[in-house]
């Protein structure tokens, strides 16, 4: 499981207004996605290095999510480098076509994914879930003109963020319980594997919805007032 916990600290990024931080994350993501040449890559690299230094986070923690993406990134690069065919192949064999354009495209996608992953990692590790909720609520505030219930949306996001580790544990518990009953999720034919996923997924949904039901009862009992009843 990917470690997505807040890292206590006293850096500029830890103290920064969560709304500014959230907007900054969105702007940096857009800058990275539109930069497709060497200058853009250098700007993104400088931006990320500066943010890592400002966050004072351990490098290992910042780069941790990349470990789980390693094979995915290699696969994406190879698919673009080997199969992108725009006519100017340097080497071709059957459907394989190695071209400058393909290598460039693969390189860009991999670089963008790495950059955005690191940015998200810095954001998650320097912002508590309550601050994330406040950041989202303030960022979405202009949408209130269109009667969009931004307060409810930020509440939903905040509850969702708190549910994620709980659901991870629930699914792990259900998986272990099913293994103890003889289920095998990693072996057998594809049909056997599909059959084995039902006893995992259905209890996971029941457990998740039961938790949601209990929480909604608790919220109502505390007199929760929705933002706009128009969202009904």
């Amino acid at each position: 499981m990917i470690d997505l916990t807040y890292q206590t600290g006293d850096s500029i990024l830890h103290r920064m207004n969560p709304t500014h931080k959230f907007l900054g994350l969105l702007i940096c993501t857009i800058i990275i996605l539109v930069s497709k040449n060497l200058a853009g890559t250098i700007i993104a690299a400088v931006l990320i290095t500066t943010l890592i230094l400002l966050s004072k986070l351990p490098i290992k923690k910042v780069f941790a999510p990349l470990k789980s993406l390693f094979f995915f990134l290699i696969m994406i690069f190879l698919m673009n480098a080997l199969f992108f065919n725009n006519g100017d192949c340097l080497y071709s064999y059957h459907s394989i076509c190695i071209s400058y354009k393909g290598i460039e495209q693969g390189y860009n996608i991999v670089l963008h994914t790495i950059a955005i992953t690191i940015l998200s990692s810095i954001f998650i590790r320097t912002t508590t879930s309550i601050e994330i909720m406040r950041g989202i609520e303030n960022t979405l505030r202009p949408l209130r003109i269109f009667h969009i219930p931004t307060k409810d949306i930020s509440l939903i996001m905040s509850i969702a963020l708190q549910f994620i580790p709980v659901f991870f544990n629930d699914i792990d518990r259900i998986r272990k319980a099913q293994i103890a009953r003889g289920a095998n999720f990693n072996k057998g034919s594809i049909i056997t594997r599909i059959q084995s996923i039902f006893p995992l997924v259905i209890p996971a949904f029941i457990s998740a919805f039961r938790r949601a039901d209990e929480l909604s009862t608790a919220i109502e009992a505390r007199g929760f007032q929705s933002d706009y009843e128009s969202f009904k």
């Binding site: 939903i156 999720f185 039902f198 997924v201 949904f205 039901d213 109502e220």
Partner: protein
């Protein structure tokens, strides 16, 4: 859509958004699970069916967004088209089930699912062909990725979603439609 208090719909939507991030991890045992089994589609379709079209759209937007930030699935490059596809699933499944009344809940759910799956895939195709992958997105590619590669996922969802709704009703978590 099932008659429930507003707060309950709010929290169920939050649970479905969280499941959008958690469920793909549970499918890790299967190779290429994201494209074949479509685990992220299940909570969005369920949210639309149970809470209605507006909550379905919200789940379709926030689910992949949150999952992409936290687990990098889907990758940022695929995120905009996926958000459009999933929000369409959430909207259409919720919209159709509120309008359709055959007298049998299972029929209502299956019709809503089929409509949502077709509409979502059309939106995904149009979005890629006209906005995100101009010139690189082909009709054959769309047909293969939307209906051939994901066929096991479509069948899986058509079986699983009615089963989950029935199980939730038996557990008295959501009410009966009729």
């Amino acid at each position: 859509m099932f008659e429930m208090p507003y707060t309950k719909k709010t929290v169920i939507t939050a649970a479905c958004i969280a499941l959008c991030a958690v469920l793909p991890m549970a499918f890790h045992a299967f190779p290429n699970a994201g494209d074949i089994w479509l685990p992220m589609h299940i909570p969005v379709l369920l949210c639309g069916l149970i809470c209605g079209p507006k909550f379905g759209v919200l789940c379709g937007i926030m689910g992949p967004f949150l999952s992409s930030i936290l687990t990098q699935m889907p990758p940022a490059a695929n995120l905009p088209s996926m958000i459009l596809e999933l929000s369409c699933y959430g909207f259409v499944s919720g919209f159709v089930i509120t309008r359709i009344k055959t007298g049998k809940q299972i029929t209502d759910i299956l019709i809503s699912l089929v409509c949502a799956m077709i509409a979502g895939r059309i939106v995904y195709g149009i979005a890629n062909a006209a906005i995100f992958n101009i010139g690189r997105f082909t009709l054959n590619g769309w047909l293969v990725s939307s209906f051939v590669t994901s066929l096991p996922g479509i069948v899986f969802q058509m079986i699983l979603i009615p089963l989950i709704i029935t199980a939730l009703q038996r557990a008295l978590i959501i009410p009966d439609k009729y």
